[in-house]
């Protein structure tokens, strides 16, 4: 496979960009609530570090902000059902602009299989994690 092949896509967030095939992941079941959107490109913009973006190729106006769960909780441990040596994990972040509050869905992480370039959003069996975990905030201290 030619790993340098690029594809031009028009995104709401980043304008028109060229993405390489190696950054495109297939979610065979889509994201929950977006079952028909199967192809996503992974984007990191220096202006929103440490967040990443999961942008739909089918509907490029759809984009999910992601964060490594360990950026939020160093003790995050999704359980034995996920082999963290083999996959890369992210969680979906929701921003409530009116309150300036962010929350992360720790209960349903995004699991990326790097070798196969596939991804899925899996609901963990464990009840340990919340679907809307509020970020620690400096004002809380």
């Amino acid at each position: 496979m030619d790993t340098t092949a690029t594809k031009s896509i028009k995104t709401l967030h980043f304008g028109e960009i060229n993405v390489e095939e190696k950054h495109i992941f297939t979610f065979k079941d889509g994201m929950l609530g977006f079952e028909n959107l199967k192809q996503y490109v992974l984007i990191s913009d220096e202006e929103t570090v440490p967040f990443k973006w999961l942008i739909s190729l089918d509907e490029p106006e759809i984009g999910f902000p992601l964060l490594s769960p360990w950026h939020i909780d160093l003790t995050y441990s999704p359980g034995r059902e996920i082999d963290t040596d083999k996959v890369v994990l992210f969680v979906v972040v929701t921003l409530d602009s009116s309150k300036g509050q962010m929350s992360a869905n720790m209960k349903a992480p995004i699991i990326l299989d790097v070798e196969k370039q596939t991804g899925e959003q899996r609901i963990l069996r464990s009840d340990k994690y919340s679907t809307n975990y509020l970020f620690p905030n400096k004002e809380d201290k």
Binding site: D45, T48, F64, L74, A108, P136
Partner: protein, 98 residues
């Protein structure tokens, strides 16, 4: 919708691999025992619906709003220094520089 009546201890099968047993019924609460392969996710519908709602909200996040929230500097991030995502995570992403 298919409607079946079952007594306590009786089972419904779905396909070749899923079995649902009625374990008990008490004060309006039915307890079900569900045997399914790991590849079939089984969850209470409320959890599923909540995640759909969270995803819908997240999918509308504006780049500028996130950037603004970040520049507020109110957020605290761990360093991810136990490095679970250390090796491969960054190279997966197309980098955008302004």
């Amino acid at each position: 919708m298919l409607v079946l009546s079952r007594k306590i201890g009786e089972v419904v099968t779905i396909g070749n691999s899923v079995k649902i047993t009625v374990l008990s019924f008490d004060r309006g609460v039915v307890r079900l025992g569900i045997e399914a392969p790991k590849t079939i996710p089984v969850h209470r519908k409320e959890i599923h619906d909540k995640i759909v709602k969270m995803n819908k909200e997240a999918s509308k996040t504006e780049f500028a709003a996130l950037k603004h929230a970040l520049t507020g500097g109110n957020m605290i991030f761990s360093e991810d220094n136990n490095g679970k995502n250390r090796k491969s995570a960054d190279i997966l992403f197309a980098q955008i520089k302004k």
